[in-house]
Symmetry: C2
Subunit: 330 residues, 2 copies
């Protein structure tokens, strides 16, 4: 795998939306605001702050207005929010969201299960959202769920994904996120779909969104980056959902992706040390161990102390010269 | 990332040695034997059955003779064992191990901490083991720990790794395993070191051994495979140790690596369905949740049932025609 050669990669943090909506515990509004404020200074391109969904449907994010209205906006960071329909769009506009993220599934069964609508019904509803956003000059990104497979239908044909992108592109959206909603993507598939999307839609911003359900989250990020993707959804601590794959971990973790890409010579703009500190605070907010790895292990060159008695072991060994001694542990 | 194009990859299972030696619970001898017998039929190239270390040093593997003597040998599978010294070599010979795996660290501090010897003392001791093995026509593989970095010293220079390989190659060993003992390797480093080793030692069998400590285990496997490595150490369920990186997960999991490589078009020879069943039994043997992912989530095309009430949701949505309805969850 070749060096990233200082290629810039942009991060879209989804912990406060995609992450918190899956948590059993309600994260207090003040903590949400403090977290967004903390993350705003760490080098993200975008932060998906919250969701303007019905508070009855997603009580975890029932404080969307309060959060969006109170966060401190760092210049250069895009503060986006999920917007499901016209009502949500009006709420998001009232809070001056910088961008709308709209969502539907490329698989009919997943869309029905998740949104209780056919894909055509979703498209009609989201078309209205895009229309309003364009009137108000707010850019729109569409997140296409199950773009790499549906947990109920199986493989989703890439032509179908490309066709949905085309229909949204014709509405005048700014970007598309290819979502591997339940961790079905594999690196060869990622390379193929990302290459086609980038070739056919050169004017769209393209983001990739992977889950680590089958351990392939980070390798899919590298595959997408090699294919030319420059923007990724990641979640601090790796929190976030996967409702149809029980027991599995969530989104790829911001700190794990940033650490890997930095090791490889990509430029992330993210402050890894402060990300790890933020993940530690997030862990206490959600009240359970995070699935991320680097927040526990530290960056690769983290130094550990030799075991107790090491100096004595060393002195004894050196005193023996070349002659070995059995008894060590292997 | 390109297709594996039917390239054959060979697996060396290390759960019963590297895995069990780190477990708190002693796995009963009969269960060890049953597990090796079960795994023998699943398509591995090699199984590292046990370790002929001092039973006092590693009580978890104090039954090495009993296990090695009772397993059912499947033709074509190499049953190897860790051999630390001449005494261990004699024990392994008495049990007819097909191959010896000898171990030392490329970092002086890690070697002292782990083996209580300087690297030169280890090399002298292991040279005697290789000498005896050659007399008895038993092939030897050397596992070089910390080849991608030492948790106490930091980076290990690749020239140093290559120099240790050269010294062992001059003794007449058959193969070398590049061990990322505490999960410090990253994909670009893996590509560079593996390429150099394969170029300079075309006659050696080269295996790579990765840990998932920082989430990069699977991406390092792909990077190594792209560089030409065809053999990997993996551990069923991802069990196995990382004593100097607390809280971190262990070896890359056999089922996760096999699943990924199969998705990508490599040929693994492994029976994934039976691997997942074996991992479920392993989980009950060790008494804790395994770090592997695919054993929990199933392969990527595992079908899940739609949620309760789905048919009604679908019928209602279809009855509405094109008109959307709010209220779904996102």
């Amino acid at each position: 795998m070749n060096s990233g050669n200082s290629t810039r990669i942009f991060f879209n943090e989804v912990a406060t939306r995609d992450g918190f909506q899956m948590e059993g515990r309600f994260v207090p509004t003040a903590d949400k605001i403090a977290l967004v404020d903390e993350l705003g200074a760490l080098g993200y391109a975008r932060i998906e702050v919250t969701s303007f969904t019905s508070p009855a449907a997603i009580p975890a994010l029932r404080d969307a207005e309060q959060v969006m209205g109170a966060i401190r906006r760092v210049p250069g960071v895009v503060y986006t929010a999920l917007v499901p329909n016209l009502r949500g769009a009006q709420r998001a506009l009232a809070c001056a969201a910088d961008e709308f993220n709209i969502v539907m599934s490329t698989s009919q069964t997943h869309n029905l299960a998740n949104l209780r609508m056919t894909r055509e019904q979703s498209f009609a509803q989201l078309s209205d959202v895009v229309g309003l956003a364009r009137e108000r000059a707010v850019p729109v990104n569409v997140s296409l769920s199950t773009a790499f497979g549906c947990p109920m239908e199986g493989d989703v044909h890439p032509d179908e994904v490309l066709d949905w992108i085309r229909r949204f592109a014709e509405l005048g959206i700014a970007g598309v996120t290819l979502c591997d909603t339940t961790g079905m993507a594999h690196p060869v598939q990622v390379q193929q779909l990302c290459t086609r999307v980038l070739q056919q839609f050169p004017a769209l911003g393209v983001t990739a969104h992977f889950h680590n359900t089958r351990g392939m989250g980070l390798v899919n990020v590298v595959s997408a980056a090699e294919a030319g993707i420059r923007s990724f959804d990641t979640s601090l601590g790796g929190i976030g959902g996967c409702p149809y794959a029980p027991g599995a971990t969530g989104n790829v973790a911001t700190e794990d992706v940033a650490h890997m890409l930095q090791c490889m010579g990509y430029v992330t703009g993210l402050d890894l040390t402060r990300l790890i500190a933020a993940a530690a605070r997030l862990e206490s907010l959600v009240g359970h161990q995070l699935p991320s790895q680097v927040s526990r292990s530290g960056p690769r060159l983290t130094r550990h102390q030799p075991p107790a008695g090491f100096e004595e072991i060393k002195a004894r060994a050196q005193a023996r010269g070349q002659s070995p001694l059995a008894g060590g542990k292997i």
